[in-house]
Symmetry: C2
Subunit: 385 residues, 2 copies
């Protein structure tokens, strides 16, 4: 098994891209990543996407994106795992390069979410839940997370306003990220005043759906220096799953897939949570951020919210999260999000995060969730000495 490096990154701004097609967004991110890596060709392209059939009227994105990005003929398929699709595509790219089957591989995540009205988007997102047992009863993705949040608040005696630091932190960090969807800070008061979208989840607990694409270029670590002196190594790449339906899980407040995926990642990288300098987690809802922190060993169960309240998730804190705005404020282009997280970790490890730089960052982690956490992908990236 070969060590794998990321030698190029690319991303579009997240937002409403009325002027650009789905394939154009993907090609923009891919060409940016290729330019960053200094490559003109590649052996394969793996595209992460969820719901483009329902939202954009287009499946079969592997061949489509490859062709439009100037890579006609290349090996290309699409990988899907709900909201974790971008990270799942990276996992497949990692398999190909680590295993020695392909050398230079591009992984791209892309989604256009704003072409449809919200009921259509909500219906599409519900397809990442259990259709026969959850969506059929009218549950939406936000509604399932709301059930989890309500239970969390009850079980651990936490109030809704206690979750404010997650949103405040994300928006503060997004202000320094030119690719973010919402670049303005918000206050804890604004968080508390926001209308409920699925009680107890308020508007400012929830990540905004946006359009965007992000891409990385992979190659074997041994060849990385031929291309760039800014390569970052993939120290771990893992996937774990759980029951898709919330009621089928052993404990609705224990995200088993996130926990198991992190456990495998720490094992593969030979590190522990105490070694991680920053953590891009799946803060699609503030409750998800709290649970990810707990699942990955940064806080005891029921204490993820406390970690945020104590300021430890800020850029100078013990474990900075959502350092470029997170899903909450950078925005959530569903099938691309997992790769935005990875691109942002690379920015941090290269020391290119500008005002948002985590000082001395050497080891960064990204975790992406599908559905209400039934799929979890964890990637640990490492700066090269």
């Amino acid at each position: 098994m070969r060590q794998v490096s990321i030698i190029g990154i690319g991303q579009t701004k997240v937002g409403e891209h009325w002027e650009k097609s789905l394939r154009q967004l993907a090609a923009d991110a891919i060409r940016a990543a290729m330019a960053d890596a200094g490559i003109e060709r590649a052996d394969a392209l793996y595209v992460g996407n969820a719901l483009s059939g329902e939202i954009s009227g287009q499946e079969h994105l592997g061949a489509l994106v490859a062709d439009f990005a100037g890579l006609r003929g290349i090996e290309a398929v699409r990988v899907e795992a709900g909201g974790a699709s971008g990270a799942a595509a990276l996992r497949v790219g990692y398999l190909a390069v680590a295993g020695g089957l392909n050398d230079v591989v591009i992984v791209c995540g892309v989604s256009k979410m704003t072409d449809q009205v919200d009921p259509v988007r909500a219906a599409a997102l519900a397809l990442t839940l259990d259709g026969d047992y959850e969506a059929i009863h009218g549950l939406s993705l936000a509604a399932v997370w709301a059930l989890i949040m309500r239970r969390y608040m009850h079980e651990y005696k936490v109030k809704h306003e206690d979750f404010a630091p997650f949103a405040v932190n994300a928006h503060r960090n997004a202000a320094g990220n030119p690719y973010a969807m919402f670049r303005r800070p918000i206050s804890a008061q604004a968080f508390a005043r926001a209308p409920a979208i699925a009680d107890p989840i308020g508007l400012l607990d929830a990540a905004p759906l946006g359009d965007g694409a992000a891409a990385v270029v992979l190659c074997p670590a041994r060849q990385a220096r031929e291309f760039t002196d800014r390569a970052v190594d993939i120290a771990a790449s893992t996937v774990a799953t759980d029951a898709v339906a919330l009621h089928d899980r052993r404990d609705p407040l224990f995200p088993a897939a996130a926990s198991e995926s992190a456990r495998r990642a720490y094992k593969q990288a030979g590190v522990g949570p105490e070694d991680i300098d920053l953590f891009e987690l799946h803060d699609e809802f503030s409750i998800a951020a709290a649970l990810s922190l707990e699942a990955c060993g940064f806080a005891e169960r029921g204490r993820g919210v406390r970690l945020a309240q104590e300021g430890e998730i800020a850029l100078g804190g013990r474990i900075p999260i959502s350092t470029m705005g997170g899903l909450k404020a950078r925005g959530h282009p569903v099938g691309a999000t997992g790769l935005y997280q990875v691109v942002e970790v690379v920015q941090q490890l290269r020391g290119e995060a500008g005002a948002n730089q985590v000082k001395g960052a050497r080891l960064g982690m990204a975790q992406s969730l599908g559905g209400s956490g039934a799929t979890a992908l964890t990637h640990i990236l490492k700066a090269i000495d």
Copy 2:
């Protein structure tokens, strides 16, 4: 890179499975493949599926199928490449095992196509075309293949009835396959009399959409004998792509992805078309069968139909195709088809094809196409001496 073996196969009958859910079909095939391999657990599951969001109201099939098949927690994602999704999932499983990242891997393809009325299915299938340039103008998948067929007939002076041997051969073979959707022979007269569905494509040129699931279990060749004495090796696994839109291709009658994918497969396996004992091709429409034969070197350009007319595609011919009925008569559960083909090649190489056995088969090939041929996967399987 490790040699990879298929140590177990499983399939459900193709047809209308009103009594079984999507996940149940998948689990049935997976449990059958696991029993065939004699395994109780696996390291990962890759699910091939196209259009389950549109047809079955369910995305995020990796975690869903893993859980229902008794594999909760396992690494699991879904792979999509239109009609080639099942084969694309096999490619990802191959990457994982060949590369040494996972040892025992299950690959499953599943689709339920009959739960929806035909206009819904046709609209879904059109999403595997180019949405912005083909589907937007009302082109369906059958219509694009009809354009190709019309051009082929014009260019090579071939009549519609000349394509009859493909359908006649497929139906004759399906009669011997208990898993096939249509087990009755048809005549060339019936083929000629069938109503047009997208002129010149008639009803008996087209594969019937069905429900079904097929699965295989992979492991490193070195470990295969620990599980079974009936293992089959994967001698080649390749993907190539082309423009998704027909009008963007250099030559509408040259399936570049199929040709390139086959070229890479022959190279990887160190064989040529003359070495292949049987060929499961993507006869979704009879024209596609003719073009696959040409793209893979079994006939000169424009002579694929002649090969069929000369009887060389029959079980005793030079290159038997659709030996268990093909898409045409075994049926076409879109996201599962690529794995049905592979399961059938394994049956042949094990000598378990019953009345349909290709005598002395040692090397078999399967080729699966997405859209109107924009994605092509080719797998060459080899009997172990």
